[in-house]
Symmetry: C2
Subunit: 350 residues, 2 copies
DNA sequence: CTGTTAGCGCCTTCAA
DNA sequence: TTGAAGGCGCTAACAG
């Protein structure tokens, strides 16, 4: 819209400064009912839309929060972003989404951009454990909230899901079905989530009095279906596991594929569990038993936390929110069978 | 960074205006080698990062392009965005991604935001055929390029893929396998892609001398797996089709699921074809025969087109780019069988 | 080639 | 409660 603050002021017969006060939530109370009304209707009449650059330049705040995402292709990020966006928008903030494609160079470039744009805060989903500069490169730009991945620095706020609980739920479920040789495929130790999962796995196994054979824990360094396949091949060859837990649903699709190509029936011979509950998890065959995480809520929570911090820069109190998770049992898990019945395939309906 | 242009200028012993000229690509040639060098090293020394708001305010350009996406959950958008981002970034532009969640109210809210932020241009992926105000609500904000969905207004630039070719490739493939009763599930007619697909379907069928029974064309109004399932149920009950073409891979996952639940083997009894070639298409069972579209390139092309327009606002010549597609044959399609062998299931390896 | 002079549109003291 | 004045940091004419 072409109309400027000055035009609105003129039409309302007030000084631009007054119009500004009337137009802005936080200063509205400094203005009389009458002029407030006049200014508002003038603004509406002229279809006035403030120039956010001028606003930002004058007020030294961009009303923008940057969101750093490692790979937008992963469906959970869309949910996260939705949650962030909803609360940010309601508070008058916009989100600047940055997909680093898990590439450090791209991240740096984008970060410079975010800095040039003077983002007020950052929500980061890509911090990695043991990173040379920690998350210093982010915190230099703006206050940050870690999302989905815990940071090493306990003073940094974070929103994560309860990975240990997730693992416990899975293992309770599998043990309940009679499994004891339970394998798990985990992401690289640079991801805090991977660490927490292993921790949860070990704890839960112990609680059930089950030995933890380290061969049952396979680490992959790229979180994709292909690595899920090779890890599965390894597990099938080197162990006699009766259940495999994938690091996330995508990895687990690779597990299912590898098992099928090897003629190993899921769940009759090997039960399989995913993680995340992406939309396609229910569509593949067999429908995946998996852990559901409320990513929308996680995003919303992260945004709330960041806005809190921005609203009161004084108390950077460490805040750590851990959302619960739940197990969604579908058809990729079933009772463990004695070893000798391996390779005896059965089909539903036969 | 705290340093301002003035600081750089002072350190380099030049006037701020000169520093500005040296710092900006397009005006760099107006400056002597010597001062250029001095300014650059001063900038580096101070770790100078221009304040993009001040820049935008003064130059009346935001160096931002807005990207409107209907549903970020759909994997193809991530690719599209990657392409857009790569060329935009290289040209000094940032992208402001907006996920409308296919909700008109959200779209309007976001659009207002983009307008307040004075985006220089818009890439729109959500235009719908027969929309009350066409794409006027977008064009009022900034120059636009339509991506993925053709606009009704031929004067608007667009980047689409060759849907008719895609359908032809599919049908050639299926006919080559002996199919003649080929069904297709298409999206609502508000989507230009749906229209083009039906057109391609009819044309290709005719070219093969095949009758087009309208029952074979099923329209769904939401593009998701659930609607793919119900459409499949209908097709299976009301027609004796031997092949089903889904509107996209997600819909097609629904097709596969429905067939399986009905005990109909794919591909032995019914061949199935998807569209888009999302990463999971190769992971489901059976691996999906589908049409691959280079979404990254589409995004890149749309961005180039928009930048062209922004660079030379004079010639808003209509540009329409149609990218080719290719068929990826996997295992969800096989030779058609005579009707009487229906329900005789077979398993690989038996 | 470089300095000067004006703003871009808004917010924010400070007085009144 | 409102007006006046100044400036956020930068670019864009226009001189020289």
């Amino acid at each position: 819209m072409r109309a400027r603050l000055e035009d609105v002021a003129k039409l309302a017969n007030v000084h631009p400064a007054t119009a500004s006060r009337a137009l802005n939530e936080h200063s509205r109370k400094l203005v009389s009912q009458d002029t407030l009304h006049r200014v508002m209707s003038a603004a509406e009449q002229l279809n006035y839309l403030p120039n956010s650059m001028a606003r930002s330049l004058a007020s030294a705040r961009s009303f923008t929060i940057g969101v750093i995402v490692g790979d937008l292709t992963v469906p959970v990020f869309a949910q996260l972003l939705r949650g962030i966006d909803d609360v940010a928008l309601a508070a008058g903030y916009s989100t600047l989404i940055v997909d680093t494609n898990n590439n450090r160079q791209r991240e740096l470039t984008h970060l410079r951009n975010l800095e040039a744009r003077r983002v007020d805060g950052l929500i980061v989903t890509t911090s990695t454990v043991g990173d040379p500069d920690g998350s210093a490169r982010f915190t230099k730009v703006a206050p940050i909230v870690n999302l989905l991945r815990a940071s090493e620095d306990p003073s940094e706020p974070e929103v994560i899901s309860n990975d240990e609980l997730g693992m416990r739920l899975i293992i309770d479920h599998l043990v309940g079905l009679g499994h004891s040789r339970i394998a798990t495929i985990v992401g690289p130790p640079t991801i805090s989530t991977a660490l927490a999962r292993v921790r949860g796995y070990r704890t839960a196994m112990h609680e059930h009095g089950l030995a933890v054979d380290d061969n049952l824990i396979t680490t992959i360094d790229h979180i994709d279906a292909e690595h899920g396949r090779t890890a599965t091949a390894q597990l099938v060859q080197n162990t006699n596991c009766t259940a495999i837990i994938g690091f996330n649903d995508l990895v687990t699709f690779g597990v299912l594929k590898e098992l099928r190509e090897r003629g190993i029936d899921c769940p009759d011979e090997i039960s399989v569990v995913g993680y995340s509950d992406v939309p396609t998890a229910a569509l593949v065959y067999p429908p995946l038993t998996t852990v559901a995480v409320d990513h929308y809520e996680m995003g919303a929570e992260a945004a709330r936390m960041l806005l809190d911090i921005l609203g009161d820069p004084g108390r950077h109190v460490a805040r750590s929110v851990q959302l619960p998770v739940e197990l969604v049992v579908r058809e990729s898990t079933s009772a463990a069978r004695p070893a000798q019945s391996k390779r005896v395939r059965r089909r539903a309906g036969d």
